[in-house]
Amino acid sequence: MSDCEHIWKMTNIEFGFIAFEKCSHCQAVRTHFTVDEESGDEYREGDCLWSRVENAQSFRFDLQCTKCNLAVKYHDLMGLLYCTSCMEDCEVEKIQKECAARKTWILVAFGFLPAKKDKPFPPHKLEILTDYFNQRRDTTRSRMKIVSHDLIEKFSLCKGEFIHDRGMLSLEVPEERKPLL
């Protein structure tokens, strides 16, 4: 167990795209990170017929401690989602309401889809990510807390917004995001 009081910095930043694909046969959605913008051509894989529904510009990174050089990879992080309070009984919304009084803002860390409801984003990575963003800010004003996607029980109804760059070739405001599944 390290005694280091880690100070994190972002390293190995790689800009690219989160590709959202949907199967026209079973309606499943899956995502992956790609450095190059891929074409949207349909392709078959088993019974599924996948096609690209969106490319969102994003980036991936690692975090490294500037004191002890411990490195933590975040290639399994698809992105951070902010809660739009779309479901009052959602655990994320409940935590958000509790934390708002303490000026602590909530974001949800998402792994790549299909994300399993019973498989949380690794807790130690959430703590490190939370520490990193709090170390970057004036925490006398407010703090961040990053929670795992498995807190969203009704995944298919969630209208939270990812902090991704989508529709960047247009100056029109993107429409509200449709539910993921």
Partner: protein
């Protein structure tokens, strides 16, 4: 220099309600991912983006204010979300280039 100083000196329009705070450097980008990776706490973020996603991005990296340039209309839901999170959304008709020149003349630089 504070957000309030900038509003008065440059004639920026305050759209959201917020507590004034110190401005420390400038970050210019229209990509949220770029801001998340590179902006620093206290930076003034200059952009043409107006979607409400700018608010959680600004909040995440603790910028002092977002300045929307080019006279772009900022949707009401963006302004309301910013007020909820105490994020300053400022607006100007100036293009980003012109605004950045004025900020530079006031002594603000990239941090």
């Amino acid at each position: 220099m504070t957000t309030q100083d900038l509003i008065e000196k440059i004639g920026l329009k305050a759209l959201s309600k917020f507590d004034p705070r110190e401005v420390d450097g400038v970050f210019v980008s229209d990509m949220l991912s770029d801001v998340m990776a590179g902006a620093q706490s206290g930076n003034l973020w200059v952009t043409v983006q107006v979607h409400k996603s700018i608010v959680p991005a600004a909040n995440l990296v603790d910028v002092s204010a977002v300045v929307v340039t080019g006279g772009k209309e900022v949707p009401k839901d963006t302004v309301e979300l910013a007020t909820k999170h105490d994020i300053a959304i400022l607006a100007t008709d100036m293009a980003s280039f012109e605004l950045v020149g004025k900020l530079y003349n006031l002594g603000l630089v990239a941090k």
